[in-house]
Symmetry: C2
């Protein structure tokens, strides 16, 4: 997960005989994009065409669907450019600048701790970002790398007003095998979608883009994955890892499991219930499995012991340098202490600070409005991070999204959220009385979800623009609920930030400094949802039970595995095209690239920077990658470029799209 400005080209040269130069790295970086809501993608034509996963565009696909036209089920293809349809909420970023701001940030917090540390650091972040943010078309972010060893200002080009859906297959082939197969391999998924960036009503010109490989990848071949791994915890202390293993993850898993059962059974109400809850359920099941895999890694005693050993070694090396020991020696215990506090505050953080939003989109929107209006009254440097000028556009994207909100589902989710809050805080907790009064969770949820007018984006904007007076005067029940809870929500947030976050940030920075002094940038920083480049190769692995897993699947395998029943049902389009598809065409494949959630939609490219695949998943062992990469069995799962073009052409007749991806090949390929 190397940053583009510290890529170990020499190591790649040693192992694979290829040394990416600066021009190559720049080209790859500029051809790659970030989907701001949590995925990766790539430009694959000079006309702003972006390739990503189906599951990265599923919110858009769902948002454009109606009860009459379910694009998630049926798929979508714009036969002409005019048919391309704008996604209600999608933001695409391209990293154009990286600047070291470590001295500024560390200077601003010198000698501070606790709340003062946090406040000074956030204010400095806000100042740096605001100065950079000269236009709405830029996105400036101060990024904490190496847990504070290095601070960088990242400047992105940002497109968020007009990104249009071009192509998406049926969910049944994009996510063939469904939840049972998620994070597994062998796989047979066409998890792809194409969108296009528009500017001023015209396709964006993107001279930097990846060319298409007709040949696809070969076993053993060097592969690069360029994308935005969201979050890893490889540099956490042992105390933090133990807390995750013993406290945080179990609670998360149990909440997710209950939500999963709740939403999955809701979907059984009927076709429309299934349609409107599909995205939520997908998200919940995906998160459940991911956390499950992480816990699996942390409960492996051998793996955990390696973490303990690593930390002991670092602490021993620190102890040998008196100045370092004096400055840094106490950091581990300080973090351990803050971690105990974090555990104590966990329920308040989840349910009073309302990190969970009680599972409700409307509650989240109302909270953004109430908080945002209040925060914008303050100087930029004193606001909650998400409402600083530099970050407002991203917050607004979610808050003013035109995506439909389904009240039937919202009632169920909020009911569950309020019920869990009461359960976890206890029925006699003062906050529970404040929230519920004499109402039951379902009564309150029904009243505010059915009574609110926040479905109307114009109303949201008028509250936002109306300022504190408009919020105070609003008779909207959801706004009223948030307004009433606001003091406690803020207090819980403050408790967490002052007692946990600030201590962890400060002391992690100290440890990072020590690591830097002792190791430099010989390693990559933990993932932070910023562009990274990983190298690896196409390679299978040996499972725990001894079975050898081959690196490629093929089209024939999909037809063999299909049962006709979800989630193992192939769409009609595929059943019809069966005889015209080449059974031996490689479908999905695995590589040793190091990825994590957020990398979804990343291109797999060869040394010529050609697209040979599209990352859409990792195998189960790769979930432990949150805490450390294990070359023996962590694998990236991708769709083969040959599968993509053959399916587009033969199954979907998407000639316009194939022509754009493969201008040369399309000309020369006759009928098969």
């Amino acid at each position: 997960m190397w940053t583009f400005d510290n890529f170990p080209s020499a190591r790649v040269q040693n192992t694979y005989g290829f040394s990416p130069g600066q021009a190559w790295l720049d080209h790859v970086r500029l051809s790659s994009v970030r989907l701001a809501l949590g995925c990766s993608g790539s430009f694959v034509s000079p006309n702003g065409l972006v390739m990503t996963n189906h599951h990265c565009a599923r919110r858009c696909i769902q948002d454009l669907s109606t009860p009459q036209q379910d694009l998630t089920a049926s798929g979508f293809y714009a036969r002409t450019q005019a048919e391309e349809r704008t996604c209600p909420r999608m933001e695409i970023n391209q990293l154009v600048g990286m600047q070291d701001v470590t001295a500024r940030v560390q200077g601003a917090t010198k000698g501070l701790s606790g709340e003062a540390f946090n406040r000074a650091q956030k204010a400095e972040f806000a100042r740096i970002e605001k100065a950079c943010q000269t236009s709405d078309q830029l996105r400036c972010e101060v990024v904490t790398l190496y847990h504070g060893g290095l601070y960088q200002l990242h400047t992105y080009k940002r497109w968020r007003k007009d990104v249009r859906l071009v192509f998406a297959p049926e969910e049944s082939i994009a996510f063939f095998g469904g939840d049972p197969d998620n994070f597994n391999f062998p796989r047979y998924d066409l998890d792809v979608s194409f969108v296009r960036v528009y500017e001023d009503g015209e396709p964006l010109q993107t001279p930097e883009y990846f060319r298409w490989s007709d040949a696809g990848p070969r076993e053993g071949e060097l592969t690069f994955v360029s994308g935005n791994p969201g979050h890893t915890s490889r540099l956490l202390t042992v105390a933090q890892l133990a807390s995750l293993r013993d406290e945080t993850i179990p609670l998360k898993l149990e909440r997710l499991a209950q939500e999963r059962g709740w939403v999955a059974q809701f979907a059984e109400r009927g076709t429309e219930a299934r349609r409107i809850s599909r995205d939520t359920l997908f998200g919940v099941e995906n998160a459940y499995k991911a956390w499950f895999g992480r816990r699996d890694a942390l409960t492996d005693p051998v793996f955990f012991a390696s973490k303990v050993k690593e930390e002991q070694s670092l602490r021993a090396r620190v102890a040998k340098v008196p100045a370092l020991q004096k400055e840094v020696g106490g950091a581990w215990d300080a973090i351990a202490q803050a971690t105990r506090v974090e555990e104590k505050l966990e329920r308040e953080t989840t349910w009073i600070r309302s990190e969970s939003k009680y599972y409700s989109e409307l509650f989240g929107i109302a909270r953004n409005l109430v908080w945002g209006v209040a925060e914008r009254q303050k100087p930029d440097t004193e606001r909650y991070r998400e409402f600083t000028d530099a970050r407002l556009p991203a917050t607004e994207l979610v808050t003013f999204s035109k995506a439909p909100i389904h009240s039937e589902l919202e009632v169920e989710l909020l009911t569950l959220g309020l019920t869990k809050m009461r359960e976890e805080l206890g029925a006699d907790h003062p906050y529970v009385h404040e929230v519920l009064g004499k109402e039951s969770p379902r009564q309150l949820a029904t009243r505010v979800v059915q009574g609110t007018k926040l479905y109307d984006v114009a109303l949201r904007r008028s509250l936002w623009n109306g300022g504190p007076a408009a919020i105070a005067a609003s008779e909207d029940p959801m706004i009223g609920l948030v307004r009433r809870l606001d003091p406690e929500m803020r207090a819980a947030r403050k408790a967490y930030e002052d007692q946990v976050e600030s201590v962890v940030r400060k002391n992690s920075e100290l440890i990072a400094k020590a690591r830097f002094q002792l190791e430099g940038t010989r390693n990559y920083p933990d993932a932070t949802f910023t562009p990274r480049l990983s190298y690896g190769s196409v390679r299978g692995w040996t499972r725990e039970d001894g079975v050898q897993v081959k690196p490629f699947t093929d089209f024939a395998g999909a037809f063999t595995r299909a049962t006709g029943e979800p989630p193992f049902d192939l769409p009609q389009s595929w059943l019809k095209a069966k005889d015209r598809l080449t059974p031996t065409t490689p479908f999905d494949f695995v590589t040793t690239n190091d990825i994590i959630g957020g990398n979804s939609g990343s291109p797999v490219v060869n040394r010529s920077a050609e697209v040979v695949g599209l990352v859409f998943d990792g195998n189960l062992p790769s979930l432990g990658g949150d805490y450390g990469f294990d070359l023996r069995n962590n694998r990236t799962v991708a769709v083969d470029s040959r599968a993509l073009t053959e399916a587009l052409r033969v199954v979907y007749g998407a000639d316009r799209l194939v022509q754009e991806l493969q201008p040369a090949a399309a000309r020369t390929t006759g009928p098969r």
Copy 2:
């Protein structure tokens, strides 16, 4: 949790100045009963009247309900004896004999290990039980105490054909506060029901019964709880406790959480769905909370360290006695090794051995039929334990219960079970292919649940009596499914019994021997769902946050706490009676008695062996009691005898019942 034959009367004398004598102990034992499906109770009149919890009779109450007459919601009171209604499945036991059979059991397994050990031990159990079981009206059980330090043959009188419901309040007062308040205190619950044992159509004569205390309990007063604590793990090794904490309990909790969400959302389909799923949901939520509390105890580092220390001390003492060390020294490691195997087999044990029955009652019945018919062909000593002659009546009680089975709920539960099986074993597991073939979990569940005729008890009997030929010839789809899976189910059971159970049993017995040699019976054995007597006193406690919890609540508190919305809604009968109830009447109270699941329905008695209360719960810290009792904060929660009689008289006008409980008081109490 002392056994009746090893009660520490001298210790009680020292602390409380009262020494229970043999006659007192015999009287208490014979006045106490066990509800074979998992609860406790007591005779409270000479005419076979049994007091237990509402939640212990809820299956009966539910079984007697119909869509038109929902007794769980409305409550039930038989104004005359003729109105008392037979419960479809309830078995009541009274312990009449205890005999030491340690020498026989240990003699039978001498020199054996692994499968041979297990087989010999089970055969000896079966022989002893069969010789004892001279009549259908007895229930003989070889009980393993001190994990094999002591084996006893328990002989119970058994009544299972005609137990009738006499009284049950509305669920809303029996379980006021619902899941949020479960395992909490202060409480305001009237968790009581009365049933009556009949023999030959007449009320059973029960000369041994508890008299009623009009005075109720006083703060600080000595209290005894006589009941059947189901299971504790206080003598488990550290390896076993760690495995529970890190592997078994998290998996259990996540499965339960998902089932909880699934069933709770199913209940939202409507009134009838709520009615038919209520029991299942109650069971799931109760289990979830109980396991949650146990995990809480095990993840407390101080508590766990005390367990480690205790084991180290025992091992050190063993090591000092060469003969003991030679025989026993390897037992801890052997158990640790078997525990690793158990973890490896966990998914197979749950899903292939079908310990979960895929959450389906019908599947469980079909499995009992298929297995039972086959097992009964074998000599008694070679059968699965639940099909030995001594245990058949209990198995038959469940298998041939007339309780209604609701196919709508069964489809949902089996769908969930099959889905979880596929998820946990993996979609490509051969067993998953064997179970599902090309069907989806829902298709298979729907087909077998809708196609089976096993709702008909007569059909079940005819298969049972028809023997292997009838099972082989059956075209019932549920029988067919079980028949098809039978070889794998048996293989998984065998793997568990040979590789885990037998090793653990043998080595636990060795450790127990060592403990015995070093400590004798100075301590009580782990709970085994056999009659135990606990002493303690009425006492509040100090919560972790410093709050002092008083030992009593009163009627007034219930009315203050009521919101009018479930689960905090009082029934109409209570709202109407409000002015006639004495607000200061004590309602629920807590004691320091040591209890655990299975103790529900136990009487709390004073030194005169009078009923002063009815155990229905423990507080949250008491859930850790599975691994050790903590006098500081583990508390038993009970209904006060004064609340019981006042509610019966004033709210329910249950004069016949009050007269039976309090023949003297009923005569002298005028209108209030």
